[in-house]
Amino acid sequence: MAPSPCAVCQTNRALILRPKNHQKLCKPCFISVFEAEIHHTITTNNLFHRGERIAIGASGGKDSTVLASVLKTLNERYDYGVELILLSIDEGIKGYRDDSLETVKRNAKQYDMPLTILGYDELYGWTMDQVVEQVGKKGNCTYCGVFRRQALDRGAAKLGVRHVVTGHNADDVAETVLMNLLRGDLPRLSRTTSIVTSTPSIVPSSPETTSHTNIKRSKPLKYAYEKEIVLYAHHKNLDYFSTECLYSPEAFRGSARALIKNLERVRPSAILDVVRSGEDMAKLVPGGNESCGNGCGGHATIVEEEEGGCGSSNGRTSGGEMASMEKQLTQTEVAAEEGLEVEITTAGTKPPNPPDSDAIPLVSGKKGKKLKGPPHGARKQPAKQTMGQCARCGYLSSQEICKACVLLEGLNKNRPKNSIEVSYDNPEESAPTVNSHEIKCTIVTQISEVEKTKGLIYNS
């Protein structure tokens, strides 16, 4: 194939093919276009305010590393006047975070940003190693997942920072849109598409008193393709760290993530199309406030911690949750893999189409003609959960005591909450049959994206 010239400068050889619009760009033009788009996302959504202190949820991974690099560049180039700091969470698993935290430490130097590493022990009084010691290997990921969901917000509150940015990208958002669509959960879909979310957290204003505040979370990379994030990191030679086997083959196969990547291969614009569709659907959901304009200050969407284990706890559904859904979706997926054309036929929604079609639908007595009334599956109404705050820690919760506090109570009473376990497809007979590598791998898999302890974990 003859080399193509860059579509922007018309001079250099194109090296990048943009998934969103098939534009061919040279390296310098790609870098400047990528940065300009993030700038556009930030300004059109009014994500930042001059004087704001912003914590970047940093893991050393590609997304948060690119986020830190781009935000530093843009803050200087466009004079946002924000103060950027790096915030990393250490779950306290011996050896596990060593490499990624080393990467974050290097990033802190490279980007000249202050770095705070907060351990689960500081945030919760327990490291994951201690939790495992206490509750055993089975079920420990519940703790890890629940703790992780709040860790960045708690950490930010501790630092007196009111805004956390995370590296969630367009692929992450598209994945959660699809997941929620497949689950039929439009309210949650609506929340996940928000570029800004907000969670009440407690702020220690003095040793004795505490006050509640909202921690704002935003996703400046929301419209950035994962592919371009990786290419940006590559072409800018950024120093990032990849965790081990995020996906075991079993978990990855048939996951929403795999579906997204397959869609992208066939039609690269699909990822952004899914994101946009999610946003459009969000507008149709009562109470969904995407329509209020993401920038309208105090009206960030409130999100609550999500149920489920670690595997389902962030933008990437790397297993557990998807695995269970996979069964129900086998047919759909087979179809999707074969032709990427999924036709959903629901008997209940087929128009009755009677021969005497002039009949008014309100005529009762015939089955299957009711247009109103509860549909077959007795769908959940868009649940209006009453969001309150945890009486103990102040974190947003629909229960009086949030999940983390419930788990902590159990731990602190020296009595593991063994009723809460992540259920796998094939529950292991008993812990001893699991070899230690598997355990490590499971833990790694489940927390592999702590860095990506990103906003979606609340709503994925």
């Binding site: 093919l17 893991s59 590609k62 072409h235 990849s242 965790t243 081990e244 795999a258």
Partner: protein, 110 residues
Amino acid sequence: MSAASSEDVIPITVEFSGGLEMLFSNQRKLDFSIAAKDESGLNSNVAFLVRYLCDNVMKDPRKDLFVLDDTVRPGILVLINDADWELEGEDKYEIQKGDNILFVSTLHGG
């Protein structure tokens, strides 16, 4: 391959990153020579290289994390001399002497 003359092989560099190196015994960079012709006597292309890597280099049994449906798994980027392989004909690209072929995973967490 030892009997092959230098005419019959093409020296190339293959790199793995983004976590993919973990499937290749943590090797990030390999310099080696690949046969100039594939099994059918055609000029060796990237598809042939991928088969070669799978059969001869990859020790990890999880081949489907690298290859799916006879091509590089979606979510793994391939850069040929720093250019997206989609600009170069994807796996039909015929390997040239001294090529640098980089496989980057976007699938691994970070």
